[in-house]
Amino acid sequence: MFARVFTWAICAAALSFSTTTAAADLPFIVLQSTTSTQDTGLFNYLLPMYRELAGVEVRSVAVGTGQALNNAANGDADVLLVHAQADEEKFVAEGFGVERFDLMYNDFVFLGPPEDQANIRGSKDIVEAIKKIAANEAIFASRGDDSGTHKKERELWAIAGIDVDAASGRWYRETGGGMGTTLNIATGIGGYVMSDRATWISFKNKRGFEILVEGDPRLFNQYGIILVNPKRHPHVKAELGQAFIDWLLSESGQKTIADFRVDGQQLFHPNAKAKVQ
Amino acid sequence: MDGEHRASGNLQSRVVHESLILPVRIENLVYEIGKARIIDSLNLELSAGGCTAILGYNGAGKSVLLRLLHGLLTPSSGIIRWAGDFDPEFVRQRQSMVFQSPVLLRRSIEANIRYALTKRGFKGEHRAHRIETVLEQTNLSRIRHRQAMVLSGGERQRVAIARALAVEPEILFLDEPTASLDPAATIGIEDILVRARNEGRKLIMVTQSVGQAERLANDIVFMHHGQVTEHSLIEEFLATPKSPVAQAFIEGKLYK
């Protein structure tokens, strides 16, 4: 008898579990964004602050830029925050987004093992540096996932005139994972890798890797923010989404971004153009 | 032991149940699996009451005949004609069967018996009364709450018989019910069967043991290659078997 009561109790518990809702009753918007903004902890810092301020919950989905653009085009977001300017402008031009705003930037850095077999340390010219990597056939870990970072990296190889597809599987390794996954792989196999500075600074599994090349203007990494077009997807919460964007672009929002620190270092540099009222 | 069983086997006077589906007449019965004829144009007539033992070597088709009679298998051709013109489901409701290795449900002895009764439509007082009666008859009252899974072979077979008798069958089919039991357990089972027979139930039993047939049966059906080679009273069969096969079987010899 006891056993039967016990069994039913468990079933009942499982059911009651399912009927209670976890979500708070606050109004919310969905933000499609990139792994770099999540893995650095920026959202964990920014979003609760906005929730206090505006009483709106921002639910962030962190995926690669390619997937974020795709999900937003399907209407599965209210706001899009990514870093691939050309694609973002195309997204708006095709009518999926209302308008694109510069939000902030950081930069990409080239990392490698302390031995630095291709001898690129301290180079100020990123294109020369990656030519050396290719010439040495030193192992390079690429995101290979169509993300903003990946697109940037492919641009650099193209400028250097190196056909990495031909080297894929030999010294050019495409991980197909997020930034963190790719960093784990690079530090694991002792290969060179390109990362946004923010993710690298907050990354905990460094294994002696260092920044070897930085500061080339071609390594600039601009983030943009876009409201998904309610004319295209009627259920988009345009007002809530626009309010969130307006706050980020405002003086107070920009200062909040600038104040975000990991290990004492500023990770993102706000650069929104002052909005004309 | 023997004499006592035989003496109480004088049955006609002690029939307490009405016969509805017996006698049964089997005409040109055929059962095939693929090209193999397991039952080959078999003819047989069985009357109400008493115990009929079906004897024969392995592969003679005894168990298949039992399953055809019980409706578990469908004949390839031929007719099984039960007395009265009843629906096949009604016929099966008047029968029950005990298998060589019975399958008991994973619950107590009493619950196993109650299950069969419930499924056959017994309810309330009547069901409770039947449970008590058969537990008593099969000497299982004391261990009625024991789990079926922990029973010995003899106990399991007693539960199977109790379950089969509980539903008040007109015919009880038994497929070598004591084949894997020790002599003591066998005697226990045979005592129960004698009592069931004396209540007026028809027992139709497949057995390999001539001794068992002698102790329990009134008549013998001897089968060979899917056919009945003879159907006679037990005394007749033992004294003057009609075929060399039956002769060899009685003497416990190999027959080629």
Binding site: A14, V61, D76, G180 | M97, R106, Y115
Partner: protein, 235 residues
């Protein structure tokens, strides 16, 4: 190696101080996976039993299909559910994407084939033993199915536990349809994936240790039910 010890130590610390963020994630993991497995069992056990007993055209083909579906990759399930629940998909109007409900749906799709396929096998084996006896008693149809399910209940409990194991351990489906949103759809496995990508290997491992402990607790509870079950059944 260092990370492994650190992982266990971190796990101990998290549990010892009743870390509220951890408990939120654990609760959601259990809520999602238990609900999904419960619903899958309600659908899958009778369906598996029915396929075991029924004879119909295309039965063998159906069995091969269901068995093959056991190997369905979670990411594919996630994608299929995403495409259906997306605002561009047929069920976008339900607004379920990036909610725990979407994760439950994905896990139901993932584990129901496991329950159907294994239940079918166990019930079919039992049917081979019980068929004549039950037909002799006169048990048919749904009554027969119920009897068979009750008879193999211990095996079926193991089936349900296997399904639960798969549900609570998978990450590919829930990360796509749930989005790993903090406080909303973050469960044990997506949290582990996130901490790993942040390079917080010890913390990721600690969460893994805790996930194992949850799985152990659920299995221990099931084994307890199994032990006291038969004594009380059918008295």
């Amino acid at each position: 190696m260092e990370e492994i010890f650190e992982g266990f130590a971190t796990a101990a610390v998290l549990i010892a101080r009743f870390d509220s963020a951890l408990f939120e994630i654990v609760e959601l993991s259990l809520r999602v996976s238990l609900t999904a497995v419960l619903i899958s069992a309600v659908i899958g056990l009778p369906l598996g039993a029915a396929i075991a007993v029924a004879r119909f055209r295309g039965r063998n083909f159906l069995i091969v299909c269901v068995n093959a579906l056991m190997g369905l990759p979670p990411v594919v399930v996630g994608l299929l559910v995403y495409l259906n629940l997306s605002n561009a998909g047929p069920f976008g109007w339900l607004q379920l994407l990036y909610t725990p409900t979407a994760m439950i749906i994905a896990q139901i799709v993932l584990v129901t084939p496991i329950i159907v396929a294994l239940a079918r096998q166990f019930v079919e084996d039992a049917n081979a033993d019980y068929d004549e006896e039950l037909r002799s008693i006169g048990v048919r149809g749904a009554a027969k199915l119920i009897t068979l399910i009750v008879e193999v209940r211990h095996s079926l409990l193991t089936v349900v536990l296997a399904a639960f194991g798969r549900a609570i351990a998978e990450v590919g489906a829930v990360i796509i349809v749930g989005g790993n949103i903090n406080h909303i759809t973050r469960v044990m496995t997506t949290a582990i994936a996130l901490e790993t990508s942040k390079g917080e290997l010890a913390l990721a491992l600690a969460l893994g240790v805790i996930l194992m402990m949850i799985a152990f607790a659920v299995n221990a509870m099931a084994s307890l039910i199994k032990k006291i079950g038969p004594k009380s059944y059918g008295r």
